[in-house]
Each structure stands twice: as structure tokens, then as C-alpha cells.
């Protein structure tokens, strides 16, 4: 079954073309990396899939689990209902800083429980237990009663993942989940995402800055440049050589300095800037 289907998606911010006729499909249970340099459109793409951003009017259509979340630049009426099936993890964690970690995790229930109960913040004992278990699952059971703002970046991101676990979504979109984390926290977060994908069969789309993580954790990689898909295939095929061909000088941004060199002689390709711009 198709988890995510994006067709002919274009988006401009002012004069800048953020996404240019992007089409892609992700099957259920896949773990897909979305790579690209800063400003290549990764975040924009993810924000469109969960309906936080609306495409400009046109032929675009985004379907999630068979139902359209937006079509021709209009948000579907049932977008709010569909969002419960799409968990989102953000680069800046986006926890409510003044609330406890447990309360933050419990907010993952909002799309599932009756509206009046969610609005009053009345969560059942089972829901609270599930929230504590989710925190244990991501390895931070001890911070449940702490204010979210007092946590380290890595802990906050794990709490945010616990929130999406409570949401019990079928799809997990992670928008640069490790870009603000130190290397060891980054690895832990990626391992949790991989485990969630493997054990709960949740479809994961993770946007990443560094291709090393894509190779290590994701079977499939989609590479974006200037809002266009320039590579879509097995991560193992994405060699450093190919990255340099795709991104030229910008490829330095994507390859970890300590990554094993896969190319004998890195060749300098012409900068993408020299190619006529798409916009």
C-alpha cells in the first residue's frame, strides 16, 4: 500500500522556487531519507506532506494512506483528522517548554481522544501509563515530571518522538531531527527512529543533512537540489562521487569530514549555480 504519494508539487516563497514539480511515492513500512543541502526544499516537502504548508494552486496533489490531504493548493476538509496518522518530529523539537515532559507526551493523544476530554486535558490512567512507557521506550523515563525546557536537546528530541509514539501514527515524518544534536544524541535518535520503523512498521521519512546517516539507517534515499528530486534509489548507490556530481561544492555540507572516502579522486564539478536556474 502507498503511504505517501506526492504529485507535481511546486511551491515558491516570493521569487524563490522552493519545490519544483516534485513527485514521489513512499510505500508502507519504508524508511526513507531525504537529503539535500540547506535550502534544497527538504523541510518544505515534509511540511507539505503533513499539511502544515499549502501548495500553490495548480495540479499538485498529496495523498497520505490513500486519502488526499491537499489537492490543487487546497487543504482537504478532513486534514485535521488525517494529521493524527502523521506523526511529525521537528528540528527544534517543538515541545511546550513550560509544561512537564509527560504532559507534552500526552498531547500526542489529542487527535485520538474525544474532543471535550482533550480540550479539558483529562487523560486517563491508561493514557498516562502509555505515555510513561513511551518515555521509557525512547530511554528517558526519569525526566517525566521535569519541565520540557530543562531537558537537553537530545532528551527533548526523544520526548518529541515519544509524543509521536503516543499519537500511534502510521507515518512518521522527521524534519532534520538530528541537525541540532551532538553526534552521540544524533545516533541515539536515529536508532530510535530505525527501531520504530522496524518494530512498529511505521513508515518513516527523515530529512537529513548528512548522507552518512542516510546510508547507515535508511534503505532508500531521495536527494533534492534546488527543489527538484535529483536522486531516488537505494542509499547504497549514493556514493560520495555521486554526491559531488549532484551537488558540486555544496556536497561538502552533506558528507561528514570523518566519513570513509569512497572515491579515489574527488573531482570538482561545475557549481550548480553555473547551470541556468530553474526559476
Amino acid at each position: 500500500m502507498t503511504a505517501i504519494s506526492v504529485r507535481n508539487l511546486s511551491k515558491s516563497f516570493g521569487k524563490k522556487r522552493a519545490l519544483d514539480d516534485v513527485s514521489l511515492e513512499v510505500q508502507c513500512g519504508e524508511m526513507v531519507a531525504l537529503i539535500g543541502a540547506s535550502g534544497s526544499g527538504k523541510s518544505t516537502l515534509i511540511r507539505h506532506i503533513c499539511g502544515l504548508e499549502i501548495a500553490q494552486a495548480g495540479q499538485s496533489r498529496i495523498e497520505v494512506l490513500g486519502g488526499a490531504i491537499q489537492d490543487g493548493g487546497r487543504l482537504a476538509a478532513k486534514a485535521r483528522d488525517m494529521r493524527r496518522n502523521i506523526g511529525v518530529v521537528f528540528q527544534q523539537f517543538n515541545l511546550v517548554g513550560r509544561m512537564s515532559v509527560l504532559s507534552n507526551v500526552l498531547l500526542g493523544n489529542l487527535g485520538r481522544i474525544p474532543m471535550w476530554r482533550g480540550t479539558l486535558g483529562l487523560f486517563t490512567a491508561e493514557e498516562k501509563k502509555a505515555a510513561r512507557e513511551a518515555l521509557a521506550r525512547v530511554g528517558i523515563p526519569e525526566v517525566a515530571w521535569q519541565r520540557a525546557s530543562t531537558l537537553s536537546g537530545g532528551q527533548q528530541q526523544r520526548a518529541a518522538i515519544a509524543r509521536t509514539l503516543i499519537q500511534r501514527s502510521n507515518i512518521l515524518l522527521a524534519d532534520e531531527p538530528i541537525a541540532s544534536l551532538d553526534p552521540s544524541s544524533a545516533r541515539r535518535v536515529m536508532e530510535i527512529l530505525a527501531a520504530v520503523n522496524r518494530d512498529e512498521k511505521i513508515t518513516c521519512v527523515v530529512s537529513l543533512h548528512q548522507v552518512e546517516y542516510a546510508r547507515r539507517y535508511c534503505a532508500r534515499t531521495i536527494a533534492l537540489r534546488d527543489g527538484r528530486i535529483v536522486f531516488d534509489g537505494p542509499s547504497s548507490e549514493l556514493t560520495n562521487q555521486m554526491l559531488i556530481e549532484l551537488y558540486g561544492d555544496n556536497s561538502e555540507e552533506l558528507i561528514l569530514p570523518d566519513a570513509p572516502v569512497q572515491t579515489a579522486k574527488p573531482k570538482r564539478m561545475p557549481k550548480p549555480g553555473n547551470v541556468p536556474a530553474f526559476a
Partner: protein, 272 residues
């Protein structure tokens, strides 16, 4: 030491920027404009009567001497009335704070569409721009003399003020946690309750406390037009030339307001 020397030398090496004449001209123009306004307002404000302050020094001295001997013989009564004034302010502020929450959210540009924001803002502007005293006069006619008229006057006026302050706090929030809550499939109201309110609560509380403080002062004045409390007693005392009693009441008001100021300052520090 070495570092600062280096910085200093770098600074001196940079070229001097020429003085911006247009800017100092602007400063001068502002002062001249102020002077013109003051001269223009001199006669209408009857400022030429300032000499009366001295020529009628006898009256002033008598006035002052009355105030210099405060008469606390009825202090229980004064304190009771002072408490009524505080209670008027308490209810006025509380009602305003409650009503300012929806109005503040509806007049925040980042949460409500413009066709809601603009009308709500205009209504709040109206509440704010009309003085409590005017509202009190109206309510005295509507609900009769007494504290309730004062409560209603403070309530309407303070709602206008707090709604504006609340909406400014809402407009300054971090939108990211709200997005995260939206992404869970939460309703719009839930986004506000869990994403917006926790962020603005400390500021809202602080604003409400500050308005309470100001409303105690305002409520003493409302008494003057018959809206109950110590202001009413004070006004009667002054009209009846009972200056020693008026003086005692003023002292009680001064002490109460200062104490409340201190208390609310402490409380506000707790929340921020």
C-alpha cells in the same frame, strides 16, 4: 589588556563618520514644536493664574494646616471603606482578566483572521479609550449609586486594556510548539489551550496583577462620583471642609496602595 589595546587601535584606524546634520536638525525641530505647543496651550489652560498660588498664600496655608493634623478617630470606618475599594478593584480586574482572554486571542493577528481581529480590536479600543470615570457615571445611572457601578466601570475599561496586552503577548509566542500540536491532529481550541496559553500565562498573570494595582488607585477616584468605597467618603469630607479627616483617609490610601504595589510586585516576580 593586550587585547583591549588591539581593539582600541583597530577602532582608531577606522575612518571617522561625518555628523548627520539631518538628524540633529530633526532633534531641534522637535524641541521647537514642543515649545510652540506649550505657548499655544498657555492661555486656554489659564496658566497665567499661577500667581494665585502665592497671592492667596493665606488660603493655601489654612488648607495645608488642616491636612497637617490628620484625624484618625474614625479609622475603623476608613479602613472598612478602603477594603470596599479594594474589593471593587478585585472584582473589576478579575472579570476583566477572564473576558480579556477570549478577546485577546481574537484580536491576535497570528491566531484570528483579519475580519475578526479588526472588529474586536476596535471594540477593545473603545473600551480602553473611554475613561473609567465616564463608564462609572453611566453605570451609576444604570445600576444606581454604589460599588457595583464601580466594578462594572473598571471591568469594561480594564477588559479593553488587558485584551490589548494579552493579544500582544500572544503575537509574540513561539509558533513552533503550536505547529507540533496541530500536527497531532488537535483541534484549533486545543492548539490554543496547550500551545499558546502555557507560553503566555506568566505574562498574562503579570499584566492582570499590574492592572489590579492600578485599579485600586482608580477605584478610589471612582468613589468621588458615587461609585462607593473610600473615594466617596473622601470626597464628602473635602466638600464639607473636614480636612483632618480627609488627610487621615489620604494617608490610609497611600499606605494601602504602597503595600499592594509591593505585594503585587513580589507576586509578579514569582510568575515571570
Amino acid at each position: 589588556m593586550d587585547q583591549t589595546a588591539k581593539i582600541a587601535s583597530v577602532a582608531s584606524a577606522r575612518p571617522e563618520v561625518e555628523r548627520e546634520w539631518s538628524r540633529s536638525l530633526g532633534t531641534w525641530a522637535t524641541w521647537v514644536a514642543l515649545l510652540i505647543l506649550l505657548v499655544w496651550s498657555w492661555a486656554p489652560a489659564e496658566m497665567s493664574r499661577w500667581t494665585y498660588l502665592f497671592s492667596d498664600a493665606g488660603n493655601m496655608a489654612e488648607y495645608a494646616s488642616g491636612f497637617l493634623r490628620p484625624d484618625f478617630s474614625q479609622w475603623r470606618y476608613y479602613i472598612e471603606e478602603m477594603l470596599i475599594t479594594i474589593q471593587i478593584a478585585l472584582w473589576g480586574t478579575f472579570l476583566a482578566a477572564v473576558f480579556a482572554v477570549p478577546f485577546g486571542i481574537l484580536s491576535a493577528r497570528n491566531l484570528a483572521p483579519w475580519y475578526v481581529v479588526q472588529p474586536v480590536r476596535r471594540v477593545m479600543d473603545a473600551c480602553r479609550s473611554i475613561h473609567e470615570l465616564v463608564f462609572a457615571v453611566l453605570f451609576v445611572v444604570a445600576v444606581g449609586l454604589g460599588p457595583f457601578a464601580g466594578v462594572m466601570a473598571l471591568f469594561i475599561h480594564t477588559t479593553g486594556i488587558l485584551a490589548k496586552l494579552f493579544s500582544e503577548a500572544v503575537e509574540a509566542i513561539d509558533a513552533r510548539p503550536v505547529e507540533a500540536i496541530r500536527a497531532t491532529g488537535a483541534s484549533r481550541l486545543q492548539e490554543i489551550i496547550f500551545g499558546v496559553v502555557p507560553q503566555v500565562m506568566p505574562l498574562w498573570t503579570s499584566y492582570a496583577l499590574y492592572r489590579f494595582e492600578s485599579n485600586v488607585r482608580a477605584a478610589t477616584v471612582l468613589g468621588v462620583i458615587g461609585a462607593g468605597g473610600i473615594g466617596q467618603v473622601l470626597f464628602e469630607a473635602i466638600r464639607g471642609f473636614y480636612y483632618p479627616q480627609a488627610s487621615a483617609m489620604l494617608i490610609i490610601m497611600l499606605i494601602t496602595v504602597s503595600l499592594l504595589d509591593l505585594l503585587s510586585q513580589r507576586l509578579r516576580k514569582l510568575f515571570l
